[in-house]
């Protein structure tokens, strides 16, 4: 590696070290200041963000996996000696990057409300029942092709106080690490044709229609397990390589 490698001109690589660079999403993530979602009001930074180049700390990340996860963590329908109530479903898909490459061996964490729309949490006190056999937490590590699969029950919708008669569409929370600090993502998966989308400021905070639809899982009849569970498929796309960075590469690209 030479110091005049074109990568040095990019705003990321450490000196003498060629580092992967990640794309910087524009118009995909919701603006932190989204007035329709009231809680953003006092919680969004008002000062401009400072550009952070993708240096060593940003292109690395924790290697998390098997130590945190047991086989049972993929099945949310059995808890405390019994079976959860509700529509049993399989939720499955792939974790990819935006270059289309699988992200293997990465931790996927989920949590959700029960079939009645109630979370097992001290601060969720709306009058829907808790399910003694549902705690709403799951974990898996993606396989070598980036695939993940959970068995769970379909979460219910629930009310909240953001605006008059506000209801959250049914959703499952997802947390992903990818392979680098830069790829860290926390999001929510929704279900097709939810009649509550129109009034949900969290779903609608995503400005781009396509990106919004990217959070909606697809009913997957092929993956349905006969006489056992319905199935929904949802692929998750983390940041891939920074296209701009690679466009600047020329004859020295072979150095990599």
């Amino acid at each position: 590696m030479t110091t005049d490698h074109p990568a040095q001109a990019a705003p990321g690589p450490a000196s003498g070290l060629v580092l992967p660079q990640y794309e910087r999403p524009a118009g995909v993530h919701p603006p932190l200041d989204s007035p329709d979602y009231g809680s953003t009001g006092l919680r969004h930074p008002k000062e401009p963000l400072v550009l952070l180049p993708h240096l060593l700390t940003e292109v690395t990340g924790p290697v998390l996996g098997d130590g945190r996860v047991t086989k049972d963590d993929a099945d949310l329908t059995q808890w405390d000696g019994g079976e959860a109530l509700g529509q049993r479903i399989v939720v499955r898909g792939r974790v990819l990057d935006s270059d289309g490459r699988a992200v293997p061996d990465t931790l996927v964490e989920i949590w959700q409300a029960n079939a009645g729309g109630r979370y097992r949490h001290l601060r969720d006190q709306w009058p829907a029942p808790l399910d003694p056999h549902f705690n709403g937490v799951g974990r898996v590590v993606t396989d070598s092709l980036g695939r993940y699969e959970f068995t769970t029950i379909k979460p219910g919708a629930y009310p909240w106080k953001n605006h008059h008669n506000a209801w959250r569409p049914a959703h499952i929370h997802f947390s992903l690490f990818g392979r680098a600090f830069t790829q860290r993502l926390v999001t929510q998966m929704y279900f097709e044709d939810d009649p509550l989308f129109f009034q949900d400021p969290i779903f609608n905070s995503i400005p781009d229609e396509k990106a919004r639809q990217g959070l909606v899982s697809r009913f997957d009849y092929e993956a349905t397990q006969p006489e056992w569970a319905l199935a929904f498929s949802w692929d998750i796309v983390l940041r891939g390589s920074g296209a701009t960075y690679f466009e600047t590469e020329d004859v020295d690209a072979d150095d990599e």
Partner: protein
């Protein structure tokens, strides 16, 4: 899965972690980037505040950092995958509790190579999640003992710090306290913490 105009898979958008993150993101000993009792272990703790200075009791802070020698246990470090010191993971997550307090246990990282032959001062990369944050916000913790160091490893040579307006840099430097460091995070308002576009 939507695709972009050039046929690439479209990125999955972020959503808030919501108020019930404790259900899914609680790990036993999750706040320990290093095992308790490890020589050199320090606490980095602080309070997460909103724009009115009210503590946020339902957020989460995650840290990621280099080993004390500035290396990483990671295949994308071109210097090679470095074995971590015993009991050290480099990653921790801590939920904020009543009073907005969070706390992690770790080792002070080493300096890390930066752009153009410079060296980055020792730092933690930090993600903050909370209800009301539709995407994580990212900041860095620097350490006060490196502020006055001239040359490699000092704050003056750090290009990331240099890109921050001078009057705001202090928000990225922890304060020394008994047993470690204090690093308060202000999402908005007076002395708003510097957050990065990553």
């Amino acid at each position: 899965m939507p695709t972009t105009s050039d046929g690439r898979p479209g990125l999955t958008a972020s959503q808030t972690v919501g108020p019930y993150l404790a259900i899914g993101l609680t790990w036993e000993h999750g706040e320990e980037a290093v095992d308790p009792g490890t020589p050199g272990a320090v606490t980095v703790s602080g309070t997460l505040y909103d724009g009115e200075g009210v503590p946020i009791p339902d957020g989460m802070v995650e840290i990621w950092q280099a080993h004390p020698d500035g290396r990483f246990h990671h295949p994308d470090d071109p210097r090679g995958v470095a074995e971590a010191p015993p009991g050290f993971r480099g990653f921790a997550r801590a939920q904020t509790v009543d009073g907005g307090r969070w706390s992690v246990l770790t080792l002070v990282p080493g300096a890390v190579p930066g752009p153009d032959g410079t060296t980055q001062a020792p730092h933690l990369d930090v993600s903050v999640f909370a209800r009301g944050l539709l995407d994580r916000v990212v900041t860095r913790v620097y350490f006060p003992e490196h502020a006055g160091v001239a040359g490699p490893g000092g704050h003056a040579e750090d290009r990331v710090l240099a890109a921050v307006p001078e009057h705001r840099r202090h928000t990225l430097v922890a304060q020394q306290v008994d047993g470690g460091y204090r690093f308060d995070i202000r999402l908005q308002g007076e002395n708003e913490t510097v957050f990065f576009d990553i």
